[in-house]
Amino acid sequence: MRAGYLLIAALMASLLLAASAAYAIAPTQMPTPQLEARYLRLIRGFRCMQCQDESLADSPVDLAADMRRDIRDMLLAGKTDQQIRDFMVSRYGYFILFKPPFVWKTAWLWLTPGAVLLVGVIVALTIIRKRAALAATDPQDDDLVDT
């Protein structure tokens, strides 16, 4: 139900009319501020399995409320963030994570930005080297004041 979701709704209203704009507003009472912060970080990093692009923190559906309760219970039982994440992935698959894992089959996704940037910089430097050699002989010098 983000901006984009609404845009979809605008464009394909019939498909999505059943969806609701209500938000889960779920006050929690974790015993310490540290646990509260970890709890919030965790439920924002998991997605709701039923909704489109909503985090567990925001999803109003019952399943999300159950999952939030599971996470709170695990936190209170003293599990680490990593243990909780592993448990959620083993139960629901990678789909649950908003942060895609870095594994063999998803490496391309994480490496694309750096690779494109690297290639781009190499190409740019090559072009600049070539053009710098031409700069001495290039006659254009008029009207080079600012646009």
Binding site: A3, L11, I25, P113, G114
Partner: protein
């Protein structure tokens, strides 16, 4: 009768678009003056027919004609008149009509704008636009006709999705579409140049205002969508890297790159083939974006298969349009040579890196957007890609871009001597760094590692942008509007960077459960809940809460967050109450009734969040200011030898310019 008239007008528009495309492209190719002369009547006729068709559809909405399937599915007799009109673009078929109408509008504008340009070039531009119009009209008539009738008619319509019943909705899609479709004009200019095999600095000067105009509309459209989502929903965020948001953001990134590349092409006659490629890619992304959203592939891959007719047509159309443009590009690009040179520290280098970084950013967004779609075939299973992927990878290319900007705008063309600017630029940098660290560590407490960097970069961009205009003012040199527009857009970007940093670092939020009289504290703010009262609107009922907002004990505002249930669809929506206090946005959303008079509430304080959208509008205003520069209006008289007839007589390729 009216719907049939609309359908008939749409068919005529398609035939006229075909004529427009044929005469526009074949006329110059076969050097038939009379064919070229037919282009203007064809495009005018097409516009009249499309406008008639859209008028017919609006009339059906206003008259509550529920014998028309599209009207019955998207409107309702209880809907206020304003939303009955806005419901036109509430779903698939009507959005296409809006798209086609805006394309016809841009085509007319292009026909007027190119009337003083060489005739063969002008008709090629309009011809390429005709090809696009024809494709969209054929698609609409063949698979998504909004004028289909119901037999028997429905007694009343299903109404518009309640979350869309908002003034923001009325504005967001048309403005965004105006931007999307505007990139078609830049594409048409590139297409005409490739068909002609001629691309010079003049061409870049003709193309720039159109590209900037489309970019400005795109900026406003994206900002409106983000703003609308922020204030209509209880969620309080402004960007989630949702696939559909990304679909509008990718063309924007490409258009931004194109604007800067065109600047080099106009000034130095460099980067010609790159500019062409960017124009093709920007429009391709806006086509892919429209169609990905349209076909529902982004929501679910299954919806693509649900209407195979539409899906197949979309794929074929994309392949024909993008494929032929790229083929044309591969054929013509090698002809576009340039002998101009520049040094490493020249403006050209900075703009080259600007392009590399913007394209990298676009590729990053593209990879993250398609990853969930291709995860299945790749054997990964279902995959989610959200902010934890996009935020760091996007910053990888955007942070260097922001850092280079402040220096780049002062670098000279060809030879990059900063000269006397170097010292003042360094001073500006030190001032920005001090302000950045001061704001983050002094005024506020906390913040993240990147927060001082973000604020410092934003301040540096603003200070650095102001150096040149202030210098010109002091020396009593006039400032061309193009320079002023660029300055304004860059200042807008600086404000944008500062606001996003502030929102990311200093947002405070809390979900609380309160009974009447209960008080919650968030930072320096106190929220006193006074219970809820029932409310009733035209097509909904619900409850409104009362929350007294105080800042350090002083009364600020009485806020009324609402929860509405719309009768027709039984949909519940949250309407958060937002109050602007100083530069912070205080948001209260009503959650659930927890029993015993207790309600859950979401409280948020977001410093500077309004400035994010304001900044986007400032950037757009800068673009519009630049377009109004007189140099885009004064057409130099073509040299005597280059009259249209003479141009047409010379074989196209030999005219390919060297410089």
């Amino acid at each position: 009768m009216i719907p049939e008239l609309g359908e008939f007008a749409l068919i005529l528009a398609m035939l006229l678009a075909a004529l427009q495309a044929f005469f526009g492209i074949m006329g110059p190719a076969l050097r038939r003056d009379r064919w070229m002369a037919a282009v203007t009547p064809a495009v005018s006729g097409q516009f009249v027919m499309v406008a008639t068709s859209m008028g017919c559809l609006i009339t059906s909405f206003i008259n509550n004609d529920f014998s028309v399937k599209y009207v019955a599915e998207n409107s309702n007799s209880s809907l206020p008149l304003f939303y009955r009109v806005a419901a036109l673009w509430g779903a698939h078929s009507g959005s296409l009509i809006l798209w086609i109408f805006l394309l016809a509008l841009w085509s007319i504008a292009a026909a007027i704008g190119t009337s003083r340009l060489p005739k063969p070039f002008a008709s090629r531009v309009i011809g390429v636009l005709g090809v696009i119009s024809f494709g969209f009209l054929l698609y609409t008539l063949a698979t998504s006709n909004p004028f289909l009738r119901l037999d028997p008619p429905w007694p009343d319509g299903e109404s518009l999705n309640p979350v869309l019943q908002d003034p923001g909705l009325a504005a967001h899609p048309p403005v965004l579409y105006t931007g999307y479709v505007g990139l078609a004009v830049a594409f048409a200019f590139a297409g005409a140049a490739m068909l002609e095999g001629r691309l010079d600095r003049e061409w870049a000067r003709w193309t720039r205002p159109w590209t900037t105009a489309a970019w400005a509309f795109l900026s406003c459209g994206i900002a409106l969508g983000s703003w609308w989502a922020y204030y209509t929903l209880g969620w309080g965020g402004f960007w989630f890297w949702d696939p559909v948001e990304n679909a509008s953001f990718m063309p924007w990134l490409m258009a931004t790159a194109l604007i800067h590349s065109l600047a080099v092409t106009e000034k130095r006659g460099l980067f010609k083939s790159w500019t062409l490629l960017l124009a093709v890619l920007a429009f391709s992304l806006s086509l892919v974006g429209t169609f990905l959203v349209r076909s529902g592939v982004l929501v679910s891959v299954h919806s693509f298969a649900a209407s195979p007719g539409r899906g197949t047509f979309i794929l074929a159309f994309l392949i024909v349009m993008i494929g032929s443009a790229l083929a044309l590009y591969a054929w013509r690009a090698p002809l576009l040579k340039s002998e101009a040179g520049f040094e490493l520290t020249a403006r050209e280098s900075f703009l080259l890196f600007n392009n590399i970084l913007l394209v990298t950013a676009c590729a990053t967004v593209f990879a993250g957007t398609i990853a969930p779609l291709i995860a299945g075939p790749l054997g990964i299973g279902k995959l989610s890609v959200g902010p934890p992927y996009f935020n760091p990878t996007f910053l990888l290319s955007i942070l260097p871009l922001l850092a280079l900007l402040s220096v780049g705008i002062h670098a000279g063309w060809k030879r990059g001597n900063l000269g006397r600017r170097a010292r003042i630029l360094l001073l500006a940098f030190i001032a920005a760094a001090v302000i950045g660290c001061g704001v983050v560590f002094g005024f506020f407490t906390g913040g993240r590692v990147l927060s001082p960097v973000g604020v410092a970069l934003g301040v540096w961009i603003i200070l650095s942008s102001l150096i040149d205009p202030i210098d010109r003012l002091r020396r009593h040199i006039s400032i061309p509007r193009a320079v002023l527009g660029m300055t304004l857009a860059h200042i807008g970007l600086g404000i944008f960077v500062i606001s996003i940093t502030s929102v990311e670092a200093f947002t405070a939020e809390r979900d609380v459960a309160l009974s009447a009289g209960g008080i919650a504290q968030l930072g320096a703010y106190q929220f006193q809940f006074q219970g809820v009262k029932p409310i009733e609107g035209a097509d909904y009922s619900g409850v409104a809460g009362t929350v007294i907002l105080k800042h350090n004990g002083a009364l600020v505002d009485v806020m009324h967050p609402q929860k509405r249930e719309y009768w027709v669809q039984h949909t519940v929506t949250t309407h958060s109450a937002i109050y602007m206090y100083r530069v912070s946005n205080v948001l209260v959303a009503l959650g659930q009734d927890l029993g015993d008079g207790r309600w859950s509430l979401r409280l948020q304080v977001r410093p500077l969040v309004t400035f994010i959208w304001l900044a986007a509008f400032i950037m757009a205003a800068g673009g519009m200011l630049a377009i109004s520069d007189r140099r885009y209006r004064l057409e130099r008289e073509p040299a005597a030898a280059l009259t249209p007839a003479a141009l047409a007589a010379v074989p196209a390729v030999t005219r390919s310019e060297a410089g």
